[in-house]
């Protein structure tokens, strides 16, 4: 058998990436290419009174300056600007009119024959504003209820909290964060001689980009094609088409020329971000720590034009058993861009607060933090009133604790030290949804026996190319090098957004089903010949081994794929599958889970924190590729370290502007911050979640990490810092 699933195989796109041959959206060479550089607003709210573009246009090489005054026709209605990840409200329309909605908003696009000319000319565009008062401070804006469907309250949480023997009540805050993938957002729009557009875009869904720009600019089917073969990281920033693709398409249509727009790193802070949150947790428990009341109130930030919502509080009603739960979610609308899904959106925030509060409960009750969580384990998602299809969280606690050496922990804070360093151990649980989306894939077998499988999904570094190749190769019994997976192209069968950790499950299922359908096609083709060795066999009777279709019961009755394709008279045989979630799934709650154990070293005098050791035990169903999956979890842990200790986009409320908009001042972890990280994949079998039994690993690795670090910092220092990030000034 050719078994690929479960094997730690090297990435199939590895050789391209290590030789610099993988091409990203802003890297496609086009004859006669022009370069667009955006001019961004310097104030947060107002109107544009005048744009002075004369000096810019006088720069040699400048082709034009586009703005709301001279742009080509664009759709007016909000509906045309919605996309596959839209929030409620009126989506942002770049260069639409004279309104300034946030600081950093693109107001004009300078297009020139060279990048340098466009960059220079952009500095010469003068903007005269009518300034209006802005508000960017979440503390100074009256909130409104979020348009989100929260689980209904169950029991009477306030009453149960009031009479609980042990109470924890605490407020937690988290700052604005920006995705900052290494590749800035970029789009290269190739203007074809027939007026058609080929758009290379940095996106988590080529389909999303195509539909979006088609609606805005009134493009007909076939007028444009979007390609996105490689994406230099996204983490959610590519879930919505960003303004660079609108500007690039706009300029290409206006000028009838090819245009590239690449955002600067500074401009990467001028669209969506993880919203700032203020959270209040109330936990009531008996003396042994059994939860009797959970109240979780969330205030998130949003823009004036859209209500961004995510699942922040839900987790507090799902992760543990509790019969009295009340969840609340409000938004404060500010003069900023709409927040945007960012790695494990919502969960990473809500579970941070919940898991810190649980640590406070462990301290209050004297129950070990792991035991407390075991005691409150729930095999049922009480929000939904459904059992989990699988939830090997107890195994995560057990295996993680064992690897970490948790049993050696002295619960007393400040009980371990090494010279100037206080050492602390902390832990937390993590959770994420295991979703399944409709997806399509096509499998094509050529006469030489090679297989091409295709779906318009994306690989943002997650390993989609590799994992889909494994699934297809295994299903058709082919070695990896006989299989090619194609993605990131709107001419391919539709796929959902690449996000939410549902790509392996959704697209993987489609790939598997397309390959199974292809087997059926092969069998039917083979059986057209009355003398076929496979005559009379059903699909269940056959298997694919080494490029042959053969009878399970009698392997000698076999045909090569090549023979079957030749017999068909076509150069290839193909099959497509449109996979959908099965009804059986509706009876269950589905999710991935984690237990994260952290050791920190805190300099007692200087407040600096080093995360010296992390063990992350993950239950995410079947792991298709342990090598790429482990990498995902490691990355999630690094993100958790950044979230806990470093990341914060700072807003100057006088100016209404993010100010640390660079990679020098917006800190993300560097190599020296990362010490010993270990990942355990706990065995978890799940036939319900999808036919592959796989739950996805893109998000689960980050969830819980910040809380585990905060809890470890408390254990080290005795200080409970409830405001992220835990920078050294908060520990002095």
């Amino acid at each position: 058998m050719t078994a690929h699933i479960g094997k730690p195989l090297d990435r199939v796109d590895g050789p391209l990436k290590v030789t610099g041959q993988a091409q990203y959206a802003g890297e496609f060479a086009v004859p006669g290419l022009t370069y667009g550089v955006a001019v961004n607003s310097t104030l947060a709210k107002g109107r544009i009174l005048a744009l002075d573009v004369d000096a810019a246009k006088a720069v040699p090489g400048v082709v034009d300056v586009l703005s709301h005054l001279n742009r080509p026709r664009m759709a007016a209605y909000d509906e045309s600007y919605t996309d596959m990840d839209s929030a409620d409200g009126a989506p942002f329309r770049p260069l639409f009119n004279d309104r300034v909605l946030y600081s950093g908003q693109p107001l004009a696009l300078v297009v020139a024959e060279t990048f340098e000319a466009a960059r220079y000319a952009a500095t010469l565009v003068g903007v005269r504003y009518a300034q209006e008062p802005h508000q960017t401070d979440i503390h100074r804006q009256a909130p409104h209820d979020a348009p989100a469907e929260l689980p209904k309250p169950r029991g009477d949480a306030d009453e149960a909290f009031a009479r609980a023997a042990v109470k924890v009540e605490a407020a937690y805050s988290s700052p604005v964060e920006h995705h900052n993938p290494m590749e800035p957002h970029a789009s290269t729009v190739v203007y074809q001689p027939d007026g058609g557009l080929t758009i290379y875009d940095k996106t988590q869904s080529a389909v999303n980009t195509l539909e979006f720009v088609s609606h805005i600019f009134g493009l007909a089917d076939g007028d444009a094609r979007v390609l996105s073969p490689f994406v230099g990281g996204a983490f959610g920033s590519g879930l919505r088409p960003q303004y660079q693709v609108v500007l690039a398409v706009m300029a290409a249509l206006h000028l009838k020329r090819s245009v590239r727009v690449t955002l600067t790193r500074q401009q990467m802070f001028t669209f969506g971000h993880r919203p700032q949150t203020l959270q209040r947790l109330k936990l009531g428990a008996d003396q042994k720590g059994h939860l009797e009341a959970v109240i979780h109130e969330v205030l998130g930030e949003t823009s004036r034009f859209e209500d961004f919502t995510e699942h922040v509080a839900e987790w507090s009603g799902a992760l543990y058993h509790c019969d009295n739960v009340r969840l609340a979610y409000q938004l404060a609308a500010l003069d900023v861009y709409t927040p945007l899904d960012m790695r494990a959106p919502g969960a990473v925030l809500g579970i941070y607060a919940l898991e810190c509060a649980l640590d406070e409960l462990a301290v209050a009750t004297g129950v070990d933090p792991v035991q407390l969580r075991i005691d409150n384990f729930s095999p049922v998602n009480q929000n939904e009133g459904k059992p989990y299809s699988s939830k090997q969280l107890l195994a995560c606690y057990q295996q993680g604790a064992e690897r970490f050496g948790w049993s050696q922990r002295n619960p007393q804070p400040r009980s371990m030290r090494e010279g100037h360093q206080l050492i602390g151990w902390g832990m937390a649980s993590g959770a994420w949804e295991a979703m399944l989306m409709p997806a399509s894939a096509k499998a094509t077998l050529a006469i030489d026996g090679s297989l091409v499988v295709a779906s318009a999904t994306a690989d943002i570094g997650t390993g989609t190319y590799t994992v889909m190749t494994q699934i297809a190769g295994e299903t058709l019994g082919l070695p990896m090098d006989k299989v090619t997976f194609k993605l990131g192209d709107t001419s391919l069968p539709k796929a959902p957004l690449e996000g939410g950790s549902f790509t392996v499950s959704s697209v993987g299922t489609a790939v598997q089903q397309a390959c199974q359908a292809l087997i059926k096609t092969l069998l039917e083709t083979a059986q057209k010949d009355d003398d076929s060795p496979l005559a009379g066999a059903t699909p269940d009777d056959v298997e694919c081994v080494d490029g042959c279709l053969r009878l399970k019961a009698d392997p000698a009755r076999s045909l090569t794929f090549t023979d079957i394709v030749r017999q068909s008279g076509s150069p290839s045989l193909e099959a497509q599958a449109d996979a959908k979630p099965e009804a059986e799934r509706d009876k269950y709650a589905t999710g991935s889970h984690a237990a994260v154990f952290v050791e920190v070293k805190v300099d007692e005098a200087l407040g600096t924190v080093q995360v010296s050791r992390v063990v992350s035990a993950i239950a995410a169903g079947r792991v298709v590729n342990p090598k790429t999956a482990e990498n995902q979890i490691l990355g999630g842990v690094v993100w958790g370290i950044g979230m806990a200790l470093q990341e914060e986009t700072q807003l100057d409320h006088h100016l209404g502007r993010f100010m640390n908009h660079s990679l020098a001042e917006y800190h993300i972890p560097v190599q020296a911050d990362i010490q010993d990280l270990q990942v355990i994949f706990v065995e978890e079998h799940d036939r319900i979640v999808n036919p592959l039994g796989s739950k996805g690993v893109g998000e689960i690795g980050i969830v819980g990490v910040a809380a585990a670090i905060a809890n470890a910092v408390y254990h080290a220092t005795g200080k409970r810092v409830r405001d992220l990030p835990i920078t050294l000034d908060k520990l002095l």
Binding site: D10, R11, D13, G14, P15, L16, K17, V18, T19, G20, Q21, A22, Q23, Y24, E27, A29, P60, T114, F115, E116, Y120, N180, P181, M182, E183, P184, F230, V231, G232, G233, A234, F235, T262, T264, R265, I460, G461, T462, G463, K627, T628, E630, N631, Q632, L634, G635, G636, V637, V638, W639, S662, L663, A664, I668, P669, V670, Q671, A672, I674, L677
Partner: protein, 173 residues
């Protein structure tokens, strides 16, 4: 006064002619004074392996080797590289054979999205040439000029540890 010969441009300061060796090939190029080495590579020579992650020396994605030393190509003017020997990620493999670091990066899965990878590789070659990293912590510190937002640091470290002995033996740049 100037070692290069300016040529006339329309209303803008003059372009300059430079010679350099790029991935082993001698090249003679006309460059504007304000074109960075990185923009020269990416936009004019279509060598897009060197990446632009920040354009300000704050991420390391543009790291290339100049005369065997690692630098940030985004903060270097092309016109100032006259006479230099430059190696980019496209020049690391020899005769179709991957550099030991490239091979180790694949085997250790030392990347995800791949956008920082070229810079990590060139930086690691520079690190090997410098000969200053003798422990894990020293590699960590001396590779901290290369951000990886995917967070593949653990695997990057492992790959470099694996490949350093072969780099020393090979003495390749």
């Amino acid at each position: 006064m100037s070692a290069t010969s300016p040529t006339a441009g329309a209303g803008l300061p003059a372009a300059h002619s430079i010679s350099l060796t790029l991935n082993g090939q001698p090249r003679r190029l006309e460059v504007q004074p304000w074109t960075t080495l990185l923009d020269l590579l990416r936009e004019q020579l279509q060598l897009t392996g060197s990446k632009k992650g920040c354009d300000h020396g704050q991420c390391g994605a543009c790291t290339v080797l100049v005369n065997g030393k690692r630098i940030n190509a985004c903060l270097s003017l092309a016109v100032m590289q006259d006479g230099a020997e430059i190696t980019t990620v496209e020049g690391l493999a020899e005769d179709g054979r991957l550099h030991p670091l490239q091979q180790a990066f694949i085997e250790r899965d030392a990347f995800q999205c791949g956008y920082c990878t070229s810079g990590q590789l060139c930086s690691a070659v520079g690190l090997a040439n410098e000969g200053r990293a003798h422990s894990r912590d020293e590699i960590r510190e001396l590779m901290s000029g290369n951000l990886c937002r995917c967070g593949a640091y653990t695997n990057i470290l492992a790959a470099i540890e694996d490949a350093l002995p072969a780099c020393r033996e090979g003495g390749r740049s």
